[in-house]
């Protein structure tokens, strides 16, 4: 996995394996149209994202598409220090 600068969590706008929408926009900079974000749908490719993470004592940036080739369970939860 390439070293990534730790930034804020955000979807790339594309599905996993496709170039990020903001990269595409830079390539087509004359087009000022709104970016249509990829959304999660069953049976479709997952929306890609990158975000800061805490893992094994370290802070690092994770990117979902780095996990292509593996099974992934992506679990959202309401908050640290909550009860359930």
């Amino acid at each position: 996995m390439e070293e990534m600068e730790i930034g804020c969590g955000k979807p790339t706008g594309a599905v996993v394996g496709d170039p990020a929408k903001d990269e595409v926009i830079e390539q087509e900079e004359e087009k000022a149209k709104e970016v249509v974000m990829a959304v999660a749908k069953i049976g479709k490719k997952a929306p890609d994202f990158q975000a800061p993470a805490f893992h094994k004592g370290e802070f690092r940036q994770v990117k979902l598409s780095d996990y292509l080739g593996k099974w992934v369970v992506l679990c959202f939860y309401p908050g640290d220090f909550t009860f359930v």
Partner: protein
């Protein structure tokens, strides 16, 4: 089982660190082994349809994603109800079996590893009752 877990909430990576060190490591020896991801602005949760704007949190959404990056299963719960990890593990085994057989086998309701699968095809039409009984659903 060969599955990677990513846990995501709107907490910062710094809060994740403190939660891991102060509480989780007292529940799980060595703390949780997977990345704890920060979705500070709820933008990731939004594209996954699990961000609750009123509460400012990501609700309990769980996505099983296959090695091609395709979403195979979605479960979303409101915050007060916890998940069932046994059911998650069962589903992963079912999805892995279906993928391994390239769809030649399907797992009927209530399937558990070791139980019979179904082989979809012309010969099975109208004959499921012969190979699958309702008590297998439980």
């Amino acid at each position: 089982m060969d599955v990677e877990v990513l846990a995501v909430s709107v907490d910062s990576q710094f809060v994740h660190k403190v939660w891991q060190e102060e509480e989780l490591s007292r529940m799980v020896d060595g703390g949780v082994p997977f990345p704890m991801v920060s979705d500070g602005a709820g933008k990731i949760g939004s594209v996954y349809g699990v961000y609750d704007e009123a509460g400012g949190v990501d609700v309990r959404g769980r996505f099983i994603i296959d090695p091609d990056g395709v979403i195979q299963a979605i479960e979303v719960l409101i915050p007060p109800v916890g998940r069932n990890v046994s059911e998650l593990l069962r589903q992963i085994q079912a999805f892995q079996l279906v993928r391994k057989t390239k769809g030649a086998e399907a797992t009927p309701s209530g399937w558990q590893p070791g139980r019979p699968t179904l082989k979809p095809g012309p010969d099975l039409v109208g004959k499921v009752w012969e190979v699958w009984k309702t008590d297998l659903a439980f």
